[in-house]
Symmetry: C2
Subunit: 213 residues, 2 copies
DNA sequence: TGCGAACCGTACCGTACGGTACTGATCGGG
DNA sequence: CCCGATCAGTACCGTACGGTACGGTTCGCA
């Protein structure tokens, strides 16, 4: 077999050619929605043949799964080593987290993939939904959990159930913005309100779960 | 013209026959997702002809719009006359609101219609999305706004921006449950946690926006 | 230089869907 | 008892998509 895969891309077993194809597929999806995500369209946009698509990804579902995996592999969440945490730096970290979360959720590709997975949730037994949840959500959830745990260890936060606290933080940050964007509300003008929104949410969260001073 | 419409159904200009057809269409959508929502399938399920479907609703989009309007017209939110509000009754009302909100969002038809609208958000300029927002969301939003305003008038709540307060309430109640359900997470086992979830959210909301005692 | 693998481009096939046209049955009013 | 309207059922048409097959080309390798 000599060299099974020539160039490993982003932790997946993908040729960089295949990565480029997935990139084009994501572009098509972002620009035109699921309707535009046809095998012929992808082949045309990526200058490859349909035959290659089926050889590499099996079928259309496999290709979509590969798209989700590919995109997830590109968005790596860096865990901020949260040592020497005081009230001020905790708040700063939380605000950064909130802004990042809003930015991620408002991203073109994220919205398009979520729309795709939601649209197929009834047909495929929510396979894509679970994949999106596992590969995307879990990552940022872990980052938040680490941050909250560090705050608790430092005596800055008090909570019994970490999941409950994270749920409150998430809800305060996101509210119904994500759904509105998924439904097609123009995300452009929303984005400029992210900073204020993030600070408000973190303030509220801290007055709920912060230790009194 | 004598009798233009024989029986007005739920405030829409719909024959009850047409309402029955929309009912069947909703059932198909709930059971099989968007893929199952074909004109031939609807005609078969409702024992009517495709020709009648096109005569009544124009085209497939018109039929889907009619489905949304039909469903929205069935879910009327009763405004609780919030007079004589004290701290206890406000909390009770808020908890009832929270439970209702979670129940509505977890409903079969609501999830199916939201999935449909989200899936088409990229194709149709989010026409369905806006419709869903206007006909569904706004209703329950107004109910919450009235409740919050009554609480403020009674000196039980303090906030400057009602929308901000409502956003916090909504986020605390819903968190990421709605998205998880849209993505296909099994809603059955979730529902039994709604009561506790609602009470926690309202408690948090009151400790944020309630007047100190 | 010759061979084989990978691959692009395209043509092709079966199917399924949106939308239209036609036929026959039912039913209310004159 | 007949007329016109409505509608169910079905056949039909054009299109578009998923998936497959084939000819021609490039490229690595012996």
């Amino acid at each position: 077999m000599a060299v099974a895969m020539r160039e490993a891309n982003a932790g997946e077993g993908l040729t960089e050619r295949q990565g480029a194809v997935l990139e084009q597929a994501l572009r098509l999806l972002v620009d035109g929605g699921e309707k535009a995500l046809t095998t012929a369209g992808i082949a045309r946009a990526a200058n490859c043949s349909k035959e290659s698509l089926y050889k590499w990804f099996g079928d259309r579902d496999g290709l979509i799964s590969a798209m989700i995996g590919f995109q997830a592999s590109k968005v790596r969440t860096q865990d901020v080593a949260a040592r020497a945490l005081d009230a001020e730096s905790l708040k700063r970290h939380l605000i950064v987290f909130a802004k990042d979360l809003l930015e991620v959720l408002a991203g073109d590709v994220s919205l398009a993939l979520n729309r795709l997975a939601i649209g197929q949730a009834s047909r495929d037994g929510s396979k894509l939904g679970h994949m999106l949840q596992e590969r995307g959500r879990r990552q940022i959830g872990r980052r938040a959990a680490a941050l909250l745990e560090a705050g608790r260890k430092a005596g800055l936060l008090t909570f019994d159930d970490a999941d409950e606290a994270y749920g409150a933080l998430y809800g305060l940050i996101v509210s119904d913005w994500h759904l509105k964007m998924l439904l097609g509300e123009e995300a452009g003008e929303m984005k400029k309100g992210f900073g204020r929104k993030a600070e408000q949410a973190v303030s509220a969260f801290l007055s709920l779960y912060g230790t009194k001073r």
